[in-house]
Amino acid sequence: MEKLVHTFPPRREHETAHGHDDHAHHDPGFWRTYIFSPDHKVIGIQYGLTSLGFMLFGFFLMLLMRWQISKPGVPIPLFGPLLEKVLGSAAPHGALSPDLYNSFGAMHGTIMVFLAVVPLAFVAFSNLVIPLQIGAPDMAFPRLNMASYQAFVIGGVVMLTSFFIPGGAAQAGWTSYSPLATMIPTDGQIFWLVGMVFIITSGLLSAVNFIATVIQLRAPGMTWMRLPFFVWAQFVTSFLILLAFPPLEAAAVMQLMDKVAHTSFFLPTGLAVGGQLANVSGGGSPLLWQHLFWFLGHPEVYVLILPAMGIACEIIACNTRKPIWGYKSLVYSALAIGFLSFLVWAHHMYLTGMGTKVAVFFQTTTMIISIPSVIILTCFLISLWGSSIRFNTPMLFALAFLPMFGMGGLTGLPLGFNISDVHLHDTYYIIAHFHYVVAPGTIFALFAGIYFWFPKMTGRMMNEFWGRVHFWGSLVFMNVVFMPMFKQGMAGMLRRMADGGANYSAAVNSKAGAEVIGGLSRNNMELHTWILWGACVLGLVQIPFIINFFWSIKHGKKVDSDNPWNATTLDWQTATPPPHSNFPEAPRVYRGPYEYSVPGHDKDFTPQNEPPK
């Protein structure tokens, strides 16, 4: 390794680029280096920082909502007066009005899914790691890559702007079901749709770029079955984005037409709004929106989870010092997930009255798709068997990903069967289920990835002690927040109630007494407070992470080699941080991605580009 450093000393962006037509200048200056850079690593970091910012913002919206759920109408401490000042009557006396609660709910979902987790898990990590892992000089289309980030920022800005318009941001949930979304009297929905069109376009450009990069720019010898699983996972994810996002874009265009040109794509004949017959031509289909939305929405779930699996796989293989168990099963399972994820969307729609035969079909495909997911998780678990595990921060997060995602997945089974879904649909159980998949699941894997690749990008390690504080705090309080929601949901507490069910519970209980099923017990209501404080502490334990992240860029412990984790994949076989165009010359690949502890070798890892003796 040392030899490599000496032979190819790290070069920064402004040093000579080899035969690159986009880089005629020798010193591109600050703007071309950090803001309008076509370099995949810079774009990856841009995506990463932007999406982490959005994630924090989305988390903050959630905290305000949790306060309102737990203490309806009580002014929010610290931020209440500020909220009233900025948003006016939407936050009277510093408490959330129900409309504002709806806005925050819709925007929390939208921001977390489309502006935080997808851009971080999919775009940021792919940008940073894929070209390095396949031995490519950059993405296949560097300027397209830059355009993709710009479209993403525009989309994000449009979304954020909508908070400040009269009427406020979109209020119809992140799913924006019509006719509700069309008929709510705020232009926030228009902002939401326009923002979505930009975000989707950005996602499509990235997906095209990643697929083209993986197919075209693999280094010599990097055959398909020598690709690290991370690349496979992102490759499948790219196809999901490429093929599932456009229908939502079409749906967004149609809903935009409904809002702006007063068409009736999703508005049925005889639609009444506020007791009045709406002045629309009718003939539209509300179910059409749901089909188009979930045709994206379900592959989207795998867009959220596959990159996380890819990251976990890299980290587990590296820290168990063993080849990952069942590499081919992992690859084929990822492909199977990708294919099947297009056939399960209507399990989100059991209660729409689309018909039992359809429901049975989607129930069956839903059960089938759980098989490859279980295979992947099982492969990871078996990989741990008999290994001497290095428990560093990335590995802790990757290990916690397994049971947390497992819980998210297993609690999804009752939702996949339409008969039990009838009871659980639209309750807190659903919220707990998909947050277990995404929050302690995907986001844990993302944290793992950040701790893992941070030294590659900066040349310095993040602090291990504060990493552990961050990990244990997050692990405990994630569960404090989400575990009680299973109980609340099974007791029948519905989601999307601005007062956390206080009115509903009181009304039902006083009318018919204890025999009414669905009346919420005091115990279930009090869990709201438990969750609120859990969420607050969860926020607090992120502070060490934020400080650690920025502090370590300048002051972290310097890495002692280009390959601090002793990993095998190509991303660790180049200078740190990687220079422009990544490798001095195209690396040649001789072996599979996870050759750890190969008997007879002098060290316990064999890099992919190490020639056979």
Partner: protein, 267 residues
Amino acid sequence: MDFPYIVEPRRDTGLYNAKLGIWLFLASEVMLFGALFSAYVLLRVGADPGMWPHGWLNVYIGTANTIVLITSSITTVMAWVSCKQRQFGRFKFFHALTILLAMTFVCIKSYEYHDKFTHYEITLASGKFADGHLVEKSKDFDLAKKTGRVTIHGYEVEHEVELMDMQRPEARNIHREEITIPATDIKKMERYGPWHHTYLAIYFTLTGLHAFHVICGALVIGFLWGPGSRMWKTDPERFTNRIEVSGLFWHFVDLVWIFLFPVLYLL
């Protein structure tokens, strides 16, 4: 480390980067238009009996536009062939034709849009329906204040259903004349805009999105024809690839119209 496969194809895939890129992009475009076509199917299947319109568009104009677009696809191929044969003048000629044809298409499409926006369905106070193109509105015409009158060139029917199927044999014999209706007789007056009927909604959305693609494609081809053609002097092979890639996009836009035409005009 040089950037590979910008011009020459990779051996195992047989593609240069941009060509793969455009095929992937077109795959996503297929899903975009596919979703809109499936929306068309669902709206049509879900329409009340007899309330899905037929023959609202002029088949002759649509045919003419189809021919225009197919011809432009031919000139696009010829432009690419000319590049391959290293005949720059011929390339310029054929792509000039492509751009002209694209503009012709957009003009004809705008005429069709204009025709729809001057077409009114008027619900009369008597419960009948008048339907036709606007001739003139009197100066003081105001529907809300019930003043003035409006003249259309059209006809009256008893039921709205009769306005739907303009392909049925009796529809040929409809006698159109100038009808003047005072505002006091009008209950509701609506143009054939996208808000008028879900058929028109999907018609305007699909053809609007398609026209957007035509315009974008024409802009790209226009760039490659004009300032972008300087690359011919420095790197003719790469320029030829650009013509091929933009041509693939153009054929796709053409292909979408091949589906749009029968679906919207004929069925």
